[in-house]
């Protein structure tokens, strides 16, 4: 380590001996204090220039940052400073988190049957109850911490969570017909709506992919071919790109493959492939939408005839996984829950892992055959079960399964057990892509007059 680094001391200097004999080991100057000093020293740090203090704030995790806003008015107002937000965008660590919403069990399945008619459609359209949006329950799987972020001041009633991408959450209007999508930043409490989509739909599936200066949204399925009939026929896409200036509000339409449905109504985005993926049922298939060529294709899942409750998720590095219960009723193969990874060819799957016995037995008790779904973010896959508040984590690289700590905001005597629907989320103060939406599309805070 030392051979290329020479020190030649040419003056006697103050004889501090700082250079001589120092073997340039990093701990040479601190060998007397190898313990990390946790206490700062105000006599020293009060002299830190203001620009550097701002940079320190940009490195704080989101909850610490919001607590730090209480220090003084200047720190409070940094959130409104463009230069600080730019700094924050560059420096703040991108924590791979999840946001959960508690949905009533009965409406957890958000897609209507894909055949000709359904009495549920008429009932849904005429529903007059408009509950406010449930609070966002934020889980940091690394710190194992939960936070509860209320949204009733941000999202008006009549919208449900539908998709997420980086720091943006997407809500969709509940009313049947032309759909309005809201993009929302949980931390800055900003929400803006996209122009309404042209094709009338009932409960379509939403896919979202944002970048620092781009928005791409896909709305698929549940075309209302008449006020009482729904079919999965088409998808439409909203594109906006600030760098190229490309702006296409729902002008890109595509036909869905025949006989498909989206169950669960979720789509995952793999940036490296430029594709959205979703699960189709009856028979099971994986639907893949290529954004660049505006085309859909169907991929056959592994063990198609023996799957129960399959879902598609995306983990770090663009890895697409399928999670499902495997049940071969006739053979004496024990039931299991498995994770498969889509191979680079885009057609074949290889098994990544399956639930170990002890995890699986607790899972079976909690799930009791009601169904489950899966969402991925970074190194983690999260599994939630219908009518249960348990959250199961799977670390993809380490192949470790563990249960998340129970959410403290869901405990409550006599509470109704709902279903937790999870979304991948990165807490971000600034989501510059929202600037692509017209300033008139920003929502005023709910509950205020004018």
């Amino acid at each position: 380590m030392e051979e290329a680094f020479t020190i030649s001391i040419t003056t006697a200097g103050a004889g501090t001996g700082a250079g001589a004999g120092a073997s340039s080991s990093s701990s040479a100057s601190s060998s007397a204090s190898l313990i990390t000093v946790v206490n700062m020293d105000p006599r020293i740090w009060r002299h830190l220039p203001q620009g550097m203090v701002d940079r320190v704030l940009a490195f704080l995790p989101p909850d610490a940052f919001f607590r730090a806003r209480a220090v003084c008015k200047r720190w409070y107002s940094l959130v409104f400073s463009d230069s600080f937000l730019e700094l924050h965008l560059r420096l703040a660590p991108a924590l791979p988190c999840f946001v959960f919403f508690l949905l009533p069990s009965t409406t957890a399945s958000s897609s209507a049957p894909s055949d000709a008619s359904s009495p549920a459609i008429a009932a849904a359209s005429s529903s007059s109850s408009r509950p406010p949006p449930p609070p966002a329950l934020l889980l940091d799987p690394v710190a194992d911490s939960w936070h509860r972020i209320p949204l009733d001041a941000v999202i008006p009633p009549g919208f449900s969570p539908a998709a997420s991408s980086h720091g943006v959450l997407c809500f969709i209007s509940d009313d049947a017909g032309s759909k309005t999508l809201l993009l929302c930043n949980l931390l800055s409490k900003l929400a803006a709506h996209l122009p309404p989509s042209p094709t009338p739909r009932l409960f379509p599936t939403v896919g979202l992919a944002v970048g620092p200066s781009s928005i791409c949204t896909v709305l698929a399925g549940d075309d209302m071919i008449s006020p009482f009939a729904v079919k999965n026929l088409t998808a439409e896409c909203f594109h906006a790109d600030g760098v190229t200036g490309f702006y296409s509000p729902w002008a890109t339409g595509s036909a869905l493959p025949r006989l498909c449905s989206f169950e669960p109504g979720r789509m995952a985005y793999a940036a490296s492939a430029g594709r959205f993926y979703g699960m189709s049922c009856g028979p099971f298939g994986v639907l893949s939408y290529d954004v660049a060529s505006n085309a859909w294709e169907k991929i056959q899942p592994p063990m198609r005839r023996f799957l129960r409750s399959p879902s598609i998720a995306e983990c770090g590095g663009g890895r697409v996984v399928l999670v499902a219960a495997v049940e071969k009723s006739k053979l004496s193969v024990p039931r299991s829950v498995r994770v498969w990874s889509l191979q680079p060819c885009g057609r074949a799957w290889s098994e990544l892992d399956r639930m170990p016995h002890d995890v699986h037995s607790r899972f079976c008790d909690a799930e009791a055959g009601r169904g489950f779904e899966c969402v991925g973010h970074g190194d983690f896959l999260v599994i939630t079960m219908r009518a249960s508040h348990d959250v199961l984590l799977f670390h993809v690289r380490r192949k470790e399964w563990r249960w998340a700590p129970p959410c403290p905001f869901l405990q409550g005597p006599g509470g109704v057990i709902g279903t937790l629907r999870g979304f991948a989320y990165v807490p971000r103060l600034a989501t510059p892509c929202m600037a692509l939406l017209d300033s008139s599309s920003f929502m005023p805070p709910v509950g205020f007059d004018g």
Partner: protein
Amino acid sequence: MAKMIKLVSGDGAEFEVEEEVAFQSKIIKDIVADADDVIPLPTVSSKVLIQVIEYCRKHAAVNSFPLSPSSSAAAAASSSSSISYSKPVSDPALRAWDNEFVKLNNSSLFDIVIAANYLDIEELVDLVLETVADRIKGKQAQEIRRQFNIENDFTPEEEEALRRENSWAFQNN
């Protein structure tokens, strides 16, 4: 034989360093471009300069280019028109070395960040400031004010309203 640059600390000590190590500092890189191989650094003491050189030496060996990786990544991100929030993955061994490097007392850390700022070594500035952020993230507002000698200009009512506005951040888990 690699080209050597001579750095002279505030207390007159001379340090000979390879060009690629010295070029971790953008300031030095600019000065040397004007064909000047001996660079006086009157505001940097020998003790601090040794530590800074050590950091630069380690990071020069890892990086192929003299520009700090954070600036080239930022440049790439802002020019890309594709949907891309992906940042380059940092080398875990280098990260571990950095974490060891900053296990210093307050005085040393402060001197290093000031020197790194003067020499325009962005990565080293960010490393120290990230460490400071780590040290204050669990602290209450009053404690943070004490550390940076900041006056509280909120009224008690304003402070209470602020806590209510972002109550989720003040929840105890």
